[in-house]
């Protein structure tokens, strides 16, 4: 960790206190949420948004309550889910470049969903629960495979990442095959959905996503200190009486759950899960009691802002959010790679 980052983090911490930082993030998030609701083809003012939120579904209220609010809340929940899963993966796999997007878990879930789009109807399964279940199933397959292959290759930081990249390629290849085989209408559905879009979110999906998020974070929070210990190293954690292999399985299962559900509802959204944990770490340090909410808040903030930005860039066209996050995220990803080579 570079001295500059340390100094920066130290200054912010001493000015605001760590909990103050979390509070500040929560405030920013509220602002971003209001902005997200206000932006769109019919631009509303913040006052109009607040009025509609308080008054219910009259006038602009229909737009706010039926269209904008569920989408905006979905952005928060999915961003938080991706942020937390990235954090946990980086901690348990000891690699700053780990996230469910970079290590094939998103791709696995994406393949599962595409498989359902192509073949699900012939099996006579309802899309409402068949697709999420299929995405979730393949997210678990990918998560388990990362652990099994990584452990077989020696279980160090590098081996898990190599396993993850191999899986990423595998699922992308399978996905291409599916796209090649799919009928035109199914193909269009897969492609649109793979870009990642928040506009499929109804209240039903929003509720499920939030429920999953809160549940998973609650379970993860119980292991917060153990994750902090694991951030030292596997052996150090074991020397503190932690059953490391079991903790890693538990963590990856929850990461797969968060990723699978997020992908099922909004498609694959990259880089939020990679960047959000780094933002949180820079400001909050290594204590996972703060990092878990911190990564959730920064992930939610990132995706919410990306949603606003997407609407500003193309007011009518609604650019898929996955493309926005990828465009913003890639330079940051490069920065991470460059810094981890020189800085450590």
């Amino acid at each position: 960790m570079s001295t500059l980052t340390l100094a920066l983090a130290g200054r912010w911490q001493s000015r605001l206190g760590r909990s103050g930082l979390l509070l500040l993030a929560a405030l920013l998030l509220t602002g971003s949420l209001l902005l997200d609701i206000a932006s769109g083809p019919a631009q509303l003012s913040i006052a109009q948004v607040l009025h509609s939120l308080l008054q219910g579904e009259g006038g602009d209220g229909v737009i706010v309550w039926q269209i904008r609010l569920p989408v905006a809340l979905m952005a928060l929940a999915v961003g938080a889910a991706l942020g937390v899963s990235g954090l946990i993966m980086q901690t348990v796999l000891h690699n700053p470049l780990a996230s469910s997007y970079t290590l094939g878990i998103s791709a696995g879930a994406g393949f599962g969903a595409a498989l359902f789009i192509v073949a699900g109807s012939s099996l006579g399964l309802a899309e409402a629960w068949g697709l999420p279940l299929c995405a979730l199933g393949f997210a678990f397959v990918a998560g388990s495979a990362v652990l099994l292959i990584g452990r077989h290759r020696g279980g160090n930081a590098e081996s898990y990442v190599l396993a993850g990249i191999a899986l990423l390629f595998l699922f992308q290849a399978l996905l291409s095959l599916l796209q090649y085989l799919a009928a035109p209408d199914a193909l269009a559905q897969i492609v649109f959905w793979l870009f990642g879009s928040l506009y499929k979110s109804g209240w039903h999906a929003v509720g499920l996503m939030w429920l999953t998020l809160l549940l998973a974070c609650g379970v993860l929070a119980r292991d917060a200190w153990r994750f902090t210990a694991l951030s030292l190293s596997d052996e150090r954690a074991a020397s503190l009486g932690i059953a490391v292999a079991r903790l890693r399985w538990r963590a990856l299962a929850l990461v797969s759950l968060l990723t699978g559900v997020a992908v099922a509802f909004v498609g694959t959204i990259g880089f939020v899960g990679l960047i959000a944990p780094h933002m949180a770490r820079m400001l909050l340090g290594e204590d996972h009691r703060l990092l878990i909410p911190g990564a959730a808040l920064s992930g939610a903030l990132l995706l919410s802002l990306a949603s606003v930005l997407g609407k500003w860039l193309s007011p009518g066209g609604l650019i898929p959010i996955g493309i926005v996050t990828a465009l913003i995220g890639l330079p940051f990803f490069l920065l991470l790679i460059l810094r981890s080579k020189g800085g450590q």
């Binding site: 030292l232 190293s233 052996e235 074991a238 020397s239 503190l240 932690i242 059953a243 340090g285 009691r289």
Partner: protein, 258 residues
């Protein structure tokens, strides 16, 4: 006292430890584990730390359930692996607090924080309590991890080469602290060392391990002889008597076979 009977360990299909029968010194004493690279020292320590499956038996009066706890560290045991995890930005006092990780909840009781600070103070580290681990020197870091291990209030302390990465001054400091804490807390300390002269001066009991078998074990003064040590390391060793009254082991220049 720790008693090992017929202790065997297999790793990746190969027997690494072959039916060891060993007894340690009593509580409040240091037992030293010596042997060439790859003889199974770290494996033995990891086995005692509950990390590896084994056959045979490990017995200790304070830890009757040693055998039933594969995969996790037994409760009354602390284990200090070789140094790693030093890039962390956790502060020294947070690292020490992690010694109690299994009983830490969301809120950390003031009494535990107090205990962590006292632990650091005992090892003379109060000044660096709030500093991040990555900014400490190697010696300070090793002592922070020693403080972390002591937070477990162990009756058996396992140390894997605690001084191998340190300069001379810090080697002496860490060894003196280990000796002091071992006596004060009436712990049994088992320590892997490469430095023969340090082993002779700081341990009361000694295990010599060669290719996964016991070459000799017993009181340090009796076991650490030039003859046995030459055999152990397969290289000629001599000794003279040093100023402090202990033997000083050395080996002279050696020519490579033509």
């Amino acid at each position: 006292m720790l008693q090992l009977e017929q202790l065997s360990v297999r790793l990746a299909g190969q027997t690494v430890l072959h039916g060891l029968n060993l007894g340690s010194g009593p509580q409040g004493s240091i037992t030293c584990l010596l042997g060439p690279n790859g003889c199974g020292k770290s494996t033995l320590l990891r086995t005692l730390a509950g990390q590896l499956a084994y056959s045979g038996s490990i017995r200790h009066a304070h830890q009757p359930d040693w055998q039933h706890r594969h995969g996790t560290l037994p409760a009354k045991v602390a284990w200090l692996p070789q140094d790693c995890g030093s890039q962390s930005r956790l502060s020294a006092v947070e690292v020490v607090l992690l010694g109690k990780v299994q009983s830490l909840g969301w809120r950390v009781p003031e009494q535990l924080q107090q205990q962590a600070r006292q632990q650091l103070a005992q090892l003379g580290l109060s000044a660096v309590a709030q500093q991040p681990l990555c900014q400490l020197s190697g010696g300070q870091r090793q002592m922070v991890f020693l403080a972390q291990a002591l937070m477990r209030e162990p009756s058996v302390l396992l140390l894997d080469e605690p001084i191998s990465a340190l300069d001379l001054q810090h080697q002496q400091q860490v060894l003196a602290l280990i000796e002091q804490q071992t006596r004060q807390r009436n712990m049994l300390t088992i320590m892997v060392l490469h430095d023969l002269n340090a082993a002779l001066r700081y341990s009361q009991h000694c295990w010599l391990l060669q290719q996964g078998r016991v070459l000799a074990a017993g009181a340090t003064a009796e076991v650490m002889t030039p003859a046995l040590l030459s055999q152990l390391y397969d290289t000629p060793l001599s000794s003279i008597t040093a100023d402090d009254g202990f033997a000083l082991f050395y080996h002279g220049r050696q020519a490579l076979p033509a």
